[in-house]
């Protein structure tokens, strides 16, 4: 257990010391909310400002970036540079490597969400959840969502064959998911086929779960199913966790093709 913790500290240290990474990871959602919050000032429902909606999308995106995008790019890069091979040559138990990544992702996700909510509350008058029950929902939806994203990120890390091609492989997937999952636009305003496709992937459900926390109960009626449908959110995210975990266990590569 201690090894996993040390590995996490090591990963967080590496993250915090690469300044560009820190700045971009933390600043991106904030910039997005400033841009979108300034463009769309209208209401999307009775007493629901667009920014209140948009902030849930940004939290979801932040979790996906921290879990899915960063790992699906970082792991192939480390594989290419032989970092994984080096660890494999030591007695380090394999799970320690993943524990380190999970702790790093958790650290970034919490930091990013706190920064985002602070900015949103101070400058855009976002209402934070008012009840303990809502905070609890916030907690489990985020935790389950980030778990699914992290596992998907690790699973997807085997797709890119080189570290250099990883961003090109991963970024479009992340971007398309953001557009079709109701991150930037109100989900129900999207064409229905797009909604159907998005419904297969975790980001849509993650955002929907987050909306149940930040938007009034009445807004649930505007969701595609007529409610926020939290049980379904839990099921879909849970299924993705299991699916991705199986993929991780069966397809994860420690060495490059070149290494045989």
């Amino acid at each position: 257990m201690r090894l996993g913790l040390y590995q996490g500290v090591l990963e967080v240290k590496q993250f915090l010391r690469s300044r560009e990474q820190v700045v971009f990871t933390l600043a991106f959602p904030v910039i997005m909310i400033i841009v979108f919050g300034s463009i769309f000032k209208g209401d999307i429902g009775p007493d629901v400002k667009f920014t209140q909606y948009f902030v849930t999308g940004m939290i979801g995106t932040g979790l996906m970036t921290a879990g899915f995008q960063s790992l699906a790019i970082q792991i192939p890069t480390e594989r290419d540079r032989g970092v994984l091979k080096r660890f494999l040559g030591t007695p380090m138990p394999k799970w320690v490597y993943f524990a380190g990544k999970v702790l790093m992702v958790a650290f970034i996700a919490v930091l990013e969400t706190v920064v985002l909510l602070t900015v949103a509350t101070l400058f855009f008058g976002i209402d934070l959840p008012g009840t303990g029950a809502k905070w609890l929902t916030f907690l489990w939806v985020s935790a389950l969502g980030i778990t699914a994203c992290t596992l998907c990120g690790v699973a997807f890390s085997s797709v890119a064959r080189t570290g250099r091609s990883a961003p090109a492989v991963v970024t479009p997937v992340a971007l398309v998911l953001q557009f079709i999952s109701g991150v930037f636009f109100v989900f129900t305003s999207l064409p229905s086929w797009m909604q159907t496709v998005a419904g297969l992937f975790p980001l849509k459900w993650l955002c929907q779960g987050l909306r149940s926390v930040f938007l009034p109960e009445s807004f649930g009626a505007q969701e595609p199913g007529g409610s926020f449908d939290l049980p379904m959110v839990a099921i879909v995210l849970g299924v993705w966790c299991v699916l991705a975990l199986v993929l991780c266990l069966t397809t994860f590569k420690w060495t490059t093709k070149r290494d045989g």
């Binding site: 201690r2 090894l3 590995q7 090591l10 010391r17 032989g82 091979k85 040559g89 007695p91 290494d259």
Partner: protein
């Protein structure tokens, strides 16, 4: 005591390409063994099977009495690979300290850093190190677990002559401490200086294993006597030749007597004429 490494009938095939074709090898405890061979000869495949990175198709392999495919032997083995990634944003001290936690009988990180000559760089981020310094860090990570057996894959590539000599001293110190060392290298001089025995591998087969002095019948090979401006004779009886030359010249100008170098023997073995 069982040998450090015992290999019998090792085979490895990639698709239709036979990379290792029936290699037998023993490396004794405390020995420095150098594996030589051109690129693509099966050298890396053989070593990586011993290191546990690759699976063999056939044959018996025992490393410190265990099958290297099982991770349990890692506690007692150190591996220094080529081109393994650094941890750019961490300091030398942090990286060595971190790796020390993986091993049950790890050495003191500070002492190991000192030993590889990086004491002054202990607090430097690894991305600020020079190529040679990074290589020393690799070695530090390879020996932090006090390995009984150390693999070194082309350890001094890119070193300047002085750094290479310092590195050789480090290897000798490790050997004195009882560590068995298996190294691959393209520098024949390095093999000759460090190794108790060398093995030459080509086309997936081990062509010869012997001490550097005896490899390819080097010690009994004909000597080349040269003198003057480029005149030379290859002979089995150099003393006789010199005596005759001395009668002619008195003091023989530019006299040298040479036997084939390890490089000559090696190149001949792998099918090039020197």
């Amino acid at each position: 005591m069982e040998p450090a490494i015992r290999v019998r009938g090792l085979r490895k095939t990639y698709q239709s390409n036979v990379a290792v074709d029936g290699v037998d090898l023993d490396v004794a405890r405390g020995e420095v063994f150098a594996l030589l061979g051109p690129n693509g000869a099966g050298k890396t495949t053989t070593v990586e099977i011993l290191e546990g990175y690759r699976k063999r198709d056939a044959g018996e392999v025992s490393v410190l009495g265990e099958d290297p495919a099982h991770r349990s032997v890692r506690d007692r083995v150190g591996i220094v690979l080529q081109g393994t990634g650094e941890f750019d944003e961490l300091t030398v001290g942090e990286v060595v300290q971190h790796f020390s936690r993986f091993y049950p009988k790890a050495d003191d990180p500070g002492a190991v850093i000192e030993r590889v000559g990086l004491a002054e760089k202990a607090r430097a981020r690894t991305h600020t190190l020079s190529g040679g310094q990074k290589r020393r860090l690799d070695v530090a990570l390879g020996i932090i677990g006090r390995p009984e057996l150390l693999f070194l894959d082309e350890p001094t590539t890119g070193f300047d002559p002085e750094a290479r000599r310092e590195f050789w001293q480090l290897i000798r110190d490790l050997q004195t401490g009882g560590t068995t060392i298996v190294l691959t290298t393209h520098y024949l001089e390095e093999a000759e200086t460090l190794a108790d025995r060398v093995g030459v591998i080509a086309h997936g087969r081990l062509l010869a294993v012997d001490t550097p002095a005896r490899l390819g019948d080097r010690e009994s090979a004909e000597a080349t006597v040269s003198w003057g401006t480029g005149e030379k004779i290859t002979t089995a009886t150099p003393t006789q030749v010199i005596r005759e030359l001395a009668e002619t010249y008195g003091e023989i100008p530019g006299l040298t007597v040479s036997r084939p170098t390890l490089e000559d023997v090696y190149l001949k073995m792998i099918g090039h004429d020197a």
